[in-house]
Symmetry: C2
C-alpha cells in the first residue's frame, strides 16, 4: 500500500525530483522506510534516479510481457503456440508439466513474470524477480531414444545463445553443458526435465531462465561476482517479447535440423559457441573432482576430456569450473 | 449378487458336485445364466471342475496378496518397503508416481489386485485381471546419468527372470529389451518410466506385470498364441507373495552390484538369459523394418546387430520378432 502511494507521488511529479524528506513527511513514514519501499519497487522493475540533495525521480515503469507482442513477432510453425503468459507462479516447469499431462501439443510455451520457487541445475534456487527476466518453459515431444536426451539440452543452449547474441549483440558463450555466460558470468540457465517410457523420451519440459534487464543493484550482492544480465553486458535495455520470439525461431530451426540431420551439425554449432572446449577445466562429478583439458563432445553429447594423467575421459554429468 | 448366492451353494456342498439344473432351479435363473456366473467367478480367480451329468464343483477360492505375507518373506534392505497393497487401480504406475512426487523413498512398492487401465510397451493395453497376476511398480532413485536409463530396464528383466525361474522352475528367457517369454510366448512385461532433470535420472517407476496363475481359458482367445502364464508353463499354481519377495531380493542384489561394478556384469547375465542374442531377428524400428543377426549389447544397453547387408547396427529402440 505504501509503495502504491509512493508511486502515485513520484508519478505526480512527472519525472521531477522529489526529496526523501518530503516523501517521508507526506507518507508519514521514516526515511529508512521510504528507502525500503523504493528498493521494493526496483525489484518489481521500476527504476529511479537518486541524487543527493535532490531526491528521487521515476525514470522507468516496468513493461509486462504481452502475449500479442510475442505472437506478432513469432516466425515459427509450432514453437511458442499455444502461448500462456502468467503472472506469478511457483515455477513455469510445473505449470507446463500439468499441461503436458493433459495432452498439450509440442511447442506449447508458458511464460511467467515472476517465479517464487525458480530452480536451477542440481536443485539450486534460481532468483527470478518480477518483470526483469524471461522465465519460461517449452514443451517438446521428440520421441527420440532416451540415450539422446543430453543432445536436446545442448541444442537448447545453442539456440538461446544465438538468439541472445543476435538480439543484444552481447558476446554470449556456452559453458558445458548448458550455462550461458559473458566473460565468465552467468546470465542464463537451462533446465530440461524429461519424462521417458522405456527407451523413448515421451516429452521434455525445456526450462529457460534469462536475466534480461536486471541492473547491477538488482542482483543479490553475494551473486554479483558470478551473475550478470543482458542489459549490463550489452549496455541497453532489451525487449523481452522480441527476444522470446527470436529464441522460439532459433529453437525450431535447430530442432528441425536435428530431426533431419542428427546431432552432428548441432554439435559443431555448440563447439563453436563453447567457452569450455580447448580449455583446462576442473570438473565436479558424482565420482569426485577431476582436472584436465576439455577436448570436445562425443556422439551422445557427453564431454570428452584428457585428464591430468593423460587419460581420455567421457563425462556424462558434472559441473565445470573454468580456468582453474 | 447372483454370483454370491451361487458361491454360497457351491461352498455349502463341501466340494461335492451340484448339477447345473439344480443351480438353475434354486437360483431361478436359466442354465445359460448359471454358466455366465461361473465364468465371471473364474475371472475373479475361483476355479471349478465341470463334469457332464454331475455338474459343478468348487475346487479353489482365490487368494489375495497379503502385505504381511510379502513382508514376512522379504530379505531386502529397502526394496519392497514401504509396501502398498491396493485393490483396484487404473495403473500401479500412476499410484506410485503420486507417491514419488511426494518424496517416497527408493524401494517403495505398489501392488494392485487388479488394474483397469494396465498398459504395456508402446502404449498397448495390458490385460490385468483380478487375483491372477502380479501387477506392481517399484520406485528407484538411481541418480545415474540419463544415458544409462536403458540399463535399468535390462537389469529389471534379468532380476525378474531369475526370480521366476527360481520360484517356478519354468524355462523363462528374455527377449530384447525386457519381455519375458517361455517358448516364444510372453508371460511378463516390464515398463520403466523415468523422470530426469538435465543429464541425471531423478527417479524411475519400474512397472512389472506377470501372468502368474492364469489358466488357458483365462487368456483372451486372440492372445493365446502369444501369451502364457507361469502356471501353464510350470504346471503348478504359484504363490504370488513368495514370487514378489524373490523379485525384490533379486532386484536389490543386482541393483547393488550395478552401482558398485557398473553395467558389465548385468550385461553378461542378461546375455546368458537372452533368447535374442545369436538369433536371426526382424526388428521394427522408428526408421523402418530391419533384418539381421543379433550379436550382443553395447555399453549403454543398446542392441548390436549385423544387418542383412553385413552392416553393423546399433538399435536403441524397436520391437523384435524372433526367427523370421
Amino acid at each position: 500500500m505504501e509503495s502504491n502511494r509512493l508511486l502515485e507521488m513520484l508519478r505526480g511529479h512527472q519525472g521531477e525530483y522529489i526529496s526523501g524528506e518530503e516523501l517521508s513527511r507526506r507518507l508519514s513514514i521514516s526515511r529508512t522506510a521510504v528507502w525500503k519501499q523504493i528498493n521494493k519497487l526496483r525489484q518489481e522493475g521500476y527504476e529511479f534516479e537518486a541524487v543527493s540533495r535532490k531526491g528521487y525521480r521515476l525514470v522507468h515503469t516496468p513493461e509486462r510481457i504481452q502475449s500479442a507482442e510475442v505472437l506478432s513477432q513469432l516466425r515459427t510453425k509450432a514453437f511458442g503456440q499455444p502461448l500462456y503468459v502468467l503472472e506469478v507462479v511457483k515455477t513455469t516447469q510445473e505449470e507446463l508439466r500439468k499441461l503436458a499431462e493433459q495432452g498439450a501439443s509440442e511447442g506449447t510455451l508458458v511464460i511467467a513474470e515472476e517465479q517464487t520457487l525458480g530452480r536451477g541445475r542440481h536443485g539450486r534456487k534460481w532468483y527470478s524477480p518480477a518483470g526483469q527476466g524471461i522465465w519460461m518453459s517449452l514443451l517438446l515431444r521428440p520421441g527420440q531414444p532416451i540415450v539422446f536426451a543430453a543432445q536436446l539440452t545442448l541444442l537448447t543452449a545453442v539456440a538461446v545463445c544465438r538468439a541472445m547474441r543476435k538480439v543484444s549483440g552481447a558476446d554470449v558463450g556456452i559453458k558445458w553443458p548448458n550455462d550461458l555466460l559473458v566473460q565468465g558470468k552467468k546470465l542464463c540457465g537451462i533446465l530440461v526435465e524429461s519424462i521417458s517410457e522405456d527407451e523413448l523420451l515421451k516429452y521434455c519440459i525445456v526450462g529457460i531462465g534469462i536475466d534480461v534487464n536486471l541492473q547491477q543493484e538488482d542482483i543479490p550482492e553475494e551473486l554479483r561476482s558470478v551473475a550478470t544480465s543482458l542489459r549490463i553486458e550489452s549496455g541497453a535495455r532489451q525487449d523481452r517479447a522480441k527476444l522470446i520470439a527470436e529464441i522460439m525461431h532459433e529453437l525450431e530451426q535447430l530442432y528441425d535440423l536435428y530431426k533431419q540431420e542428427g546431432f552432428a551439425p548441432i554439435s559443431h554449432l555448440w563447439e563453436a559457441l563453447s567457452v569450455t572446449i580447448g580449455q583446462r577445466v576442473k570438473i565436479r562429478t558424482p565420482e569426485g573432482e577431476l582436472g584436465g583439458l576439455a577436448t570436445g563432445l562425443d556422439s551422445t553429447g557427453a564431454l570428452l576430456m584428457t585428464d591430468d594423467h593423460g587419460k581420455a575421459r567421457t563425462i556424462f554429468s558434472g559441473e565445470i569450473q573454468l580456468g582453474r
